[in-house]
Chain length 209, copies 2
Amino acid sequence: MDARTQWDAGRSEEWADVTPDAARRLLTAAVQAFAERGYHATTTRDIAGRAGMSPAALYIHYRTKEELLYRISGIGHRLALGIVSRARDGGGDPAGRLSAAVQDFVRWHAEHHTTARVVQYELGALGEEHHAEIVALRRETDAAVRSIVEDGVAAGEFDVPDVRGTTRAVLSLCIDVARWFREDGKHTPGEVGELYADLALRMVGYAHK
Amino acid sequence: MDARTQWDAGRSEEWADVTPDAARRLLTAAVQAFAERGYHATTTRDIAGRAGMSPAALYIHYRTKEELLYRISGIGHRLALGIVSRARDGGGDPAGRLSAAVQDFVRWHAEHHTTARVVQYELGALGEEHHAEIVALRRETDAAVRSIVEDGVAAGEFDVPDVRGTTRAVLSLCIDVARWFREDGKHTPGEVGELYADLALRMVGYAHK
DNA sequence: GCCGAACCTGAGCAAGCGCTTAGGGGGAGT
DNA sequence: ACTCCCCCTAAGCGCTTGCTCAGGTTCGGC
């Protein structure tokens, strides 16, 4: 057993297919450091140190510090997009699909709030091209949730005067979980997910029961 | 007329009582720079340059770069607290007060999204003591909104299973406006405020009409 | 036993950072 | 006219930053 539990808050299967091992250690070290201090306040020496290597080792696996952020951001955004896509394509009525989307999306943001913090709040530090690529992924996520809301409106289940605005509000609510969630808080990620799924249904005017 | 409109996105009465003039110029320049690049990515040379001064001039009015952030954060948080406090102490039923609180809070975050971005997302860069002081202000804001929600529940107007969690969600929703709002977007600050006030009432289960 | 490839380190470079210091200019008071 | 004080700048100090490079270690295949 290595020192994994020290810096790896929670499971880390999300990085399972990053190879070789040293590259993965550097990546998870970077996630931790970026989440704690922010991208610009993190030094390459800090990242390398957390991974148990010399500063120079970083540049064997990544060309720049920004590439680390780009890789993290890419993996995180694709994971998030996968979560809402699965909910959109899942069976059931719009209310059930929206509920599942919010619940899973929120739970991911809470469980992996370290990663999520970097993914959601540090993308301004990306280079121009990388930034554009990531923004495209975000728009897909947005569209997936919006299509669920649109389905609900079309089916007469939801009462939403402003679909775009309300969809953004729901996503905004979920994303902000990464900012305030603490492990030592009163609620588990699952509980927050349930509460937020209910709040989302209320926001779209779903007349339940 | 100086170059004010260039860096001052929107009105700036919020800094009216910062004197002397040079200190205020530096402060607003810092707000702009921090909002664009983040605290750590902003250099003192950049701030001074935007204010039309040499780097050294900054240290006549502020002891450190961190003090600039502290001042900005203090003014911003006190303003935000004032907004929700006024709504809490205003007349009317809980629904009206919650609606007013959210509407004004959101409008401030949209109108002054530059300031709000710094206030809400850069407080991790504050020193320990300053951070604690600001966190105390945030807790007051939280408590103000929560007391409105509690009033609504006590009056039987609201249906809220988890008061703390729902209150945090409402505030979270409002705060996140500072992250995504753009001036060239489809909605004005007032429109976003109205939409969000309605969403907040839905979240607390207010049976309107 | 030798080779080449993969991986890593120690040392350090150029640039940029927050901040300091010595001194100049100009307006108000006398 | 002189002083005093406030506000400012030019220059630069000490340090840290992202990143580089020459060289060393380890390993499987022959």
